[in-house]
């Protein structure tokens, strides 16, 4: 995939489902000048209704489970869900907690997993590129 293939800007919405913030600040770091994913048009938006990609972090606490589901439902199709960080992928160090209903793929379908606790911004950008590819495949199918 090369830059030429990108036919539009990708808008992302970030949902924190009980993360420790480590992944969340790395997501913002990926968008700010050093890594600057914004130069490709990747933009953090304020509502899921505008988003193409959901960036989900955290092990999904009981409280956030239905909220995550609702955010998922509010995101227009075609959409791609990224699970960022080990605790969202597998529970990570919170695996045995009594208050989590995760990992994320137990609650909503996940397309791209980014490993790391927290993953580096480069890894997150790599994940976004994969999500982009997937989104274009989904759109081609439509």
């Amino acid at each position: 995939m090369s830059i030429k293939d990108l036919n539009r800007s990708l808008w992302v919405f970030h949902v924190n489902t009980g993360s420790c913030n480590g992944c969340d600040i790395e997501i913002v770091a990926a968008l700010t000048p050093r890594y600057d994913a914004e130069r490709f048009g990747v933009k953090l938006v304020g509502t899921p209704r505008h988003a193409d990609v959901l960036l989900v972090t955290g092990p999904v606490t009981k409280d956030m489970k239905d909220k995550l589901k609702r955010v998922y439902d509010q995101t227009p199709d075609p959409k791609v869900v990224m699970s960022i960080g080990n605790c969202g992928n597998s529970g990570g160090c919170f695996y045995e907690s009594y208050n989590i209903d995760g990992p994320i793929d137990k609650v909503v379908p996940v397309d791209v997993y980014v490993a790391g606790c927290p993953p580096r911004p480069e890894a997150i950008i790599d994940g976004v590129v994969k999500a982009w590819k997937k989104l274009e495949d989904l759109e081609a199918k439509k």
């Binding site: 949902v15 924190n16 489902t17 009980g18 993360s19 420790c20 913030n21 480590g22 992944c23 969340d24 600040i25 790395e26 913002v28 770091a29 700010t32 000048p33 050093r34 304020g46 509502t47 899921p48 209704r49 955290g58 092990p59 606490t61 009981k62 409280d63 956030m64 239905d66 909220k67 609702r70 955010v71 509010q74 605790c87 990570g92 160090c93 919170f94 045995e96 907690s97 009594y98 208050n99 989590i100 606790c117 927290p118 580096r120």
Partner: protein
């Protein structure tokens, strides 16, 4: 979500709830506010969205495993949790930390303070509607992250502190790089000061906004920069002896050092944090100059350390000054693998109570910057609140939009 209410006199008031998923909030928390016109007349908040049961999990793991968990209480100020936990265990077991390790801990903690405060400055700028300033400050922040990575191997969760000392030494070769970083922040302090303290728009939005008087700060038990900005002289680094701080010459940073007065508003909180960035850079320089040689950890072999900790019976506490205020850890050991009890109290727990006096009678458009001005950290606070209530989800962009609009209006008016 808006809800209309009529009181006995027939006056209409509205209640709005903000969160838990909301663009003005970086983390899930729910704020419920009553408003009359543009004025906030009642404030309440609901926690528990980020509760992961960390303390409970801690009682099922051994102290070395808990260190991993303690770092994941909060990704931003992770070092203070692991340090407070180690301190509590050291306190219970009577372990002495070597002097060099104390210095390295201090350096790591101050690097973290720089990163946390600069990050906060970016968030505050974003809440005011200055996104270019946010990007600028986050660019500034990358320098300290690189240095943290250079010293510890990780950008965010540093994993440098261990029970009885630290895991990595600072070599002679690494010192110039650290000094470069401190120079960089001493220099950018002036630039940040110009942006945040001299800009007329920032000033008129933050001056006399979200006031917390000294009395209110004492009543709500505010801690850290939030308390200091209201004129309460408390800084655990000075009040309590830990790490290398007793050997350093330092005093709490108060806003009146710059302006000659203390108003306890958002502006004062900005001043306090900026001063602390400078102070942290100076502390690191001092530490590098007077760091003694010697061992860096009490016991290198982890199985041996664990065997020793297994025999410990007793209680210990660890208290220290995190970027947001006082962190307190309590550990009770009963001669078993895992501690019998582990209790954590993070600074946002206290500072959130200060939201109520700060937000009262303020305008709706000022909610984002006032809420952000205590530098809230939900992942720290939500460890031990029992979950139960479900609340409705809100994804209004209105608040942030209002805030941006207000900035724009002020900018026009000042032209």
């Amino acid at each position: 979500m808006l809800e209309k209410k009529k009181d006995a006199d027939g006056d209409t008031s509205y209640s709005i709830s903000v969160g838990p998923v909301h663009p003005a909030l970086k983390e899930p928390v729910k704020l419920n506010m009553s408003i009359e016109g543009e004025k906030v007349t009642g404030v309440d908040f609901e926690l528990s969205q980020v509760h992961r049961g960390v303390e409970w999990m801690g009682t099922r793991r051994n102290p070395i495993q808990i260190m991993f968990l303690a770092e994941r209480i909060c990704g931003i100020c992770n070092i203070c949790h692991i340090m407070a936990f180690s301190k509590a265990v050291e306190n219970a077991a009577g372990i002495e930390v070597p002097a060099r390790a104390s210095y390295i801990r201090t350096i790591a903690a101050e690097l973290e303070r720089i990163h946390s405060h600069v990050l906060w400055a970016g968030v505050a700028a974003h809440e005011l509607g200055f996104d270019s300033v946010m990007h600028y400050t986050w660019k500034l922040r990358e320098n300290v992250l690189d240095t943290i990575e250079y010293l510890t191997g990780n950008r965010i969760t540093k994993a440098i502190v261990t029970i009885g000392g630290v895991r990595r030494d600072i070599h002679e070769k690494q010192v110039p790089r650290l000094k470069e970083t401190t120079d960089y922040y001493l220099k950018s302090f002036d630039k940040l000061g110009k942006i945040f303290l001299k800009d007329p728009v920032v000033k008129s939005r933050c001056r006399d906004t979200g006031i917390l008087t000294k009395k209110e700060a004492l009543v709500t038990c505010a801690v850290g920069p939030t308390a200091r900005a209201s004129g309460v002289r408390k800084d655990i680094r000075v009040d309590e002896t830990y790490a290398a701080y007793p050997e350093l010459d330092m005093k709490p940073m108060m806003p009146d050092m710059v302006t000659g007065e203390t108003r306890g508003d958002v502006y004062d909180r900005i001043i306090t944090r900026l001063l602390e960035v400078k102070q942290s850079a100076e502390i690191i320089n001092d530490c590098l100059n007077q760091m003694p040689e010697g061992k860096i950890v009490y016991e290198e072999k982890i199985p041996k350390l664990l065997a020793e900790l297994k025999g410990v019976e007793g209680e210990g506490t660890g208290r220290l000054e995190a970027p947001r205020g006082e962190v307190f850890h309590y550990v009770k050991m009963v001669g078993e693998d895992s501690p019998y009890a582990w209790k954590v109290r993070a600074p946002t727990y206290n500072n959130m109570l200060a939201w109520v006096p700060m937000l009262m009678n303020e305008q709706i458009a000022d909610i984002p910057i006032i809420a952000a001005s205590i530098d809230p950290c939900m992942s720290c606070t939500n460890r031990a609140v029992v979950a139960g209530k479900t609340s409705s989800i809100l994804t209004q962009e209105n608040l942030h939009r209002l805030s941006v609009e207000k900035t724009r209006k002020i900018r026009e008016a000042l032209k």
